[in-house]
Symmetry: C2
């Protein structure tokens, strides 16, 4: 890139792409107050179509961000799924249904809602917490990376040229995505969702301009055909097998009994996946028959990884295919809100980071079919996993080595995702090239095999300076969600909501049953030592005193102990706001809230009397677990990650 006369500026973090991955990372920048910019080449945010599946783990994250109630209000929960196939008489029948015995419970169950709404919720939260705005209609067109500056994390090794487009020149980078209702022959369109306008207002004239931005960190969240990834020369690896799928959001007119349920239908005419959606919509996935799946090569990277030429596929084609498969039941639609056809191979980047300065997240890091409903979840979780770590480092509050864990934690999951998708896709399309194992296995078996991954019960995060593998609750996994009773207020709340994603580590004191004097002594002893740990490190967020917050969950009945029985460090005092009443909770069941079932300690594998201490990372994954007395272990955990405050008092905290 040549040096030009364009205006130059600096930013700590530049995010390219304002889809789920980029927005979720931007959420953290907003919460930590990081100097960051987020740009997107499209002039308008996604309104219709695209991804729509949310797994329980993602809803838990949303709860910690404070907007899961909006998802519950608008989305469709789909727990039961049904399987349809031909019986011995060649008749299409419902063969099985599953899901009743899932471990997932309301409000954290598989939920369907269009991507545009979720992006709106994240945008609203970014807006509430910061002045960061998505800059739309802004294209990156030049990128250089200065190898010399990599080790110096205060340097700006990334130089990027951005072009702000005149809004009257819409960017049509995704030629086959329909970002608006499709008018059918009778002119009927479905109503638009109530998204705020979130783009460049078409009526506003703006000057096209070019600028140079220098950044300390760059996030490539610009999709499967990531320009940024290509510029950085980061290769994708994986199968070249390409399945082409027709996808549509329609309002179905059908007497097929499971047209409003999550259903897989398969017979001689083909197979389809039916997904219920908000606003009377349904999402349809139909694999294209062999021979009809001609593709237009992608101009940018020479592969066919991308969308199919729309001219060979219309909503009418899709209608006919579904009619054939669902026969003898009727199927039709008058409203098609969005449709697309695409073929995506299963591919994963060989690494998610370059020198811990440039990172790939979301579809830029892993491409696969949309059928298992995991893509948006993976993207959101990528951005969530990377964002807080990067923010901590950008604020100078954490050691840059924690950035290594992004690749270590997310790349294995990306590979697992792609393998899951490969198996399901092969099963769906009866691929003759698939291995014999896959051909013998049916979709149900594959889903069962990947269930822990899919439901988000297990993340399989490996040991690192952020994850010390010890005991239970299991470090590297999420903190299992339970509803708890607040000691001071006696209201109930989910742990996900209590563990608000505000950027702080949580030192969770599982205080056990303090009705036993010996146990109360242990808690008091911990309380006398804790201040020296809490005050030891630099505060990355201006509104908080430090990077660590405590949360106490005891196992005594609420009416046999008092809030003020706990050491003051666990219920800190502020001279204006008084005591912090949201810090002490009981794990006991609550009679007036059937969701507050008690037995949280049992679920977590913690002794009811003696308790334990768990360190929960800002993304709600367990980092460390130990006894109440192991303050040395707690200090060691944080010392490996966080920078000490200049005035840090070592107090009673021992380091080794």
């Amino acid at each position: 890139m040549t040096v030009t006369k364009y205006p130059e500026s600096e930013t700590d973090v530049l995010i390219i792409g304002a889809g789920p991955a980029g927005l979720m990372a931007a959420y953290w920048m907003a919460r930590y107050g990081v100097k960051a910019r987020i740009v997107d080449k499209r002039a308008e945010k996604v309104m219709l179509g695209h991804a729509d599946g949310l797994v329980p783990r993602t809803l838990e994250l949303f709860d910690s961000c404070g907007f899961n109630h909006r998802v519950r209000n608008e989305g469709v929960a789909a727990v039961i799924s049904t399987y349809w196939g031909l019986n011995e008489e060649g008749k299409l029948v419902r063969q099985e249904h599953s899901g009743e015995n899932t471990e997932s419970r309301m409000p954290f169950v598989h939920t369907l809602l269009g991507q545009g709404r979720l992006e709106q919720f994240i945008l609203d939260s970014i807006h509430e917490n910061s002045s960061i705005k998505v800059e739309r209609g802004v294209v990156a067109e030049g990128l250089s990376f200065n190898e010399l500056d990599q080790e110096d994390h205060s340097a700006y090794p990334i130089t990027i040229q951005l072009r702000t487009l005149n809004s009257e020149k819409p960017v049509n980078g995704e030629t086959h995505a329909q970002n608006g209702p499709i008018k059918l022959e009778n002119g009927i369109v479905n109503r638009q969702p109530s998204d705020e306008s979130n783009g460049v207002p078409p009526q506003i004239q703006r000057e096209e301009k070019v600028e140079i931005v220098k950044a300390r960190y760059l996030l490539a969240c610009d999709g499967a055909r990531s320009w940024t990834r290509t510029q950085m020369g980061l290769p994708m690896e994986g199968s070249s097998t390409e399945y082409v799928w027709g996808v549509a959001d329609v309002v179905p007119i059908s007497n097929f009994p499971d047209i409003r349920r999550l259903a897989m239908v398969e017979n001689a005419a083909g197979s389809i996946l039916i997904v219920p959606r908000e606003r009377n919509l349904m999402r349809l996935y139909v694999p294209m028959p062999k021979g009809q799946d001609t593709q237009t090569p992608d101009a940018e990277n020479g592969t066919t990884n991308g969308r199919r030429d729309k001219s060979t596929f219309t909503p009418d084609d899709l209608r006919k295919m579904v009619q054939a498969i669902l026969s003898p039941w009727d199927f039709d639609f008058k409203i098609c809100e969005w449709f697309s056809a695409y073929g995506v191979g299963q591919r994963v980047a060989s690494t998610l980071s370059r020198e811990n300065r440039v990172f790939l997240a979301g579809d830029a890091a892993h491409s696969h079919s949309p059928k298992i409903g995991m893509g948006m979840n993976m993207s959101l979780q990528d951005g969530f996993n990377l964002g807080w770590k990067l923010a901590l480092v950008a604020q100078g509050a954490a050691d840059p080595s924690i950035l290594n864990t992004y690749n270590a934690e997310r790349l294995p999951l990306a590979k697992m995702l792609v393998e899951y998708d490969r198996q399901i896709s092969s099963q769906f399309t009866k691929d003759e090239n698939a291995s014999e194992d896959i051909q013998k296995t049916d979709a149900r078996t594959i889903h069962q095999e990947f269930e822990d991954f899919y439901e988000g019960r297990k993340a399989f995060y490996p040991a690192s300076n952020l994850v010390h593998k010890l005991s239970r609750p299991r470090p590297g996994e999420k903190f299992p969600v339970r509803k708890l009773l607040n000691q001071a207020r006696l209201d109930t709340r989910w742990t996900t909501n209590i563990l608000e994603s505000d950027g702080r580590f949580r030192l969770v004191v599982l205080a056990g049953d303090i009705r036993f004097p010996m146990q109360k002594d242990r808690v008091d002893q911990l309380g006398s030592v804790l201040p020296s740990i809490l005050n030891r490190y630099i505060a990355p967020i201006s509104q908080f005193d430090g990077p660590i917050n405590t949360l106490t969950i005891h196992s005594s009945p609420w009416d046999e102990v008092e809030y003020h029985d706990f050491p003051e460090v666990l219920r800190p005092f502020d001279e204006v706001m008084g005591w912090a009443y949201d810090r002490i909770w009981s794990e006991r069941a609550c009679t007036y809230d059937s969701e507050c079932e008690g037995k949280a300690y049992e679920k977590w594998g913690v002794d009811l009397v003696r308790g334990a201490v768990a360190i929960i990372r800002p993304d709600q994954y367990v980092g460390w677990v130990g006894e109440l007395e192991d303050t040395a272990g707690m200090t060691k955990y944080f010392d490996q990650i966080l920078r000490k405050a200049p005035t840090a008092c070592n107090g009673n905290a021992e380091t080794d």
Copy 2:
């Protein structure tokens, strides 16, 4: 009122006062598309303070309006309440707590949230459904009622003169209400809630203007000192006993154990009521000691029904009183968001309506103390009860005689409210004039006596053309809330949410267990007759075909019957939107949602196999109950209320 040269216009419904009662009535005008205006003399909507208690029944109404999730997200649920008093050693101790065994269950439990937020939720809903806007800074200053026009419901018997004030002249009608944070000596104020600005922007200059409005119906929702009520000469009746209370919203700094719980504290120094609130606030009610409760007479109606002179009462006075009562515990605050002192006698209007053209609702109809937390609920429910009836009549779809039921249904409840408040207030202030009965009774006993009323389990609505007293579910009472499983989608929803407050009567077909062929025959037979009932009446709402909608709740397991097993009239077909999948539900329990407990039929007292038919009014109260065969009864119920469509087909429906 003299005839002037002021511009004249007409409206069907004019609502004076945009508090809870007026807004709730306006909600219905918005849903029905009635030509209506709503004016308020204040330049700005309530932002802080005022009422804050929501009983379960109100939350059910909000759920039917579609915004209860916002209340849950922001409000504080307070189920447990505690009682503190002196023990034998003269020490202040917690003597008892209650509430664990309440019949109320999440999400419909007693919840606290400031009035300003609720008004915002209703305003947002009105905005989504209509172009009705609250006109603020508009004062009514002349009113005449033409007796001759009363019987002709197409006439405009009400003439009113409205003055739109220049926004720079704020109306200070409520001199002692603080509509903004109070700056204390150290200059600290609490953050403002995120309400949209909902007033006359102070920077906008507007011309003061006067206009004449002719209205068919007038709603007086202008508070305890209602100008409209006075103009109409509608008297208030009741005790002249006046208690003066100090009220404040503060962020407490206190080590009193129950400072974040619903608590009543009583000792020699006095008594206080502690109410937990959103945003770390607490609401305090303190009865003023005798002798300090001097009042300024109300200029408008010569009573002291209104606020006390603020100059005799400050937050510092309140602080000292609470400190004395809570001693030996500490109590202080740095933030006081709102405070007021007022004395309100227990008074009820002798009638809620004049000739069914002018109606009183909310505080204009009943004044009482705020301590039992029912005032805003009664106001909301008044507006809710009146609104749909008035809208139906204004649209020409219902017989004006249904307006009689407003007074018949709400006046007895207003009297019950005031009696409840009188008993509680006397108990609180140890009124020497109170009857011996009351002095002997304690607050707990009084609360228990009124519990059915308070919790909203019973409304005690008498028989009328809207309520036919028959059997169970009990006409005149609400339809008991249960969570149901959707037959087509298999998702779960509360009956309150399914019975959306969209203005239509619901013909609820409790279809029983249609696995029994005889029962299926009964349902099919009903299905063949129903169209003639559904198509018999004028449609009051343009977007719907008629004023009656069906809802089917069966008792079969979802996987043993199909959606299409039910007659098509119960799952109507639209050629664009397909079949209506949200009309058929199962009452069975659902494994993945602990709130979906099943046994709805048992709760409602309906036979599991044979079922029943219930007619639910637009406000979710049961109007009629009968057997599946009693189509004559159904027709008779509707014929007494609704106007027949000119093209009405009598079909098989019999009238008698």
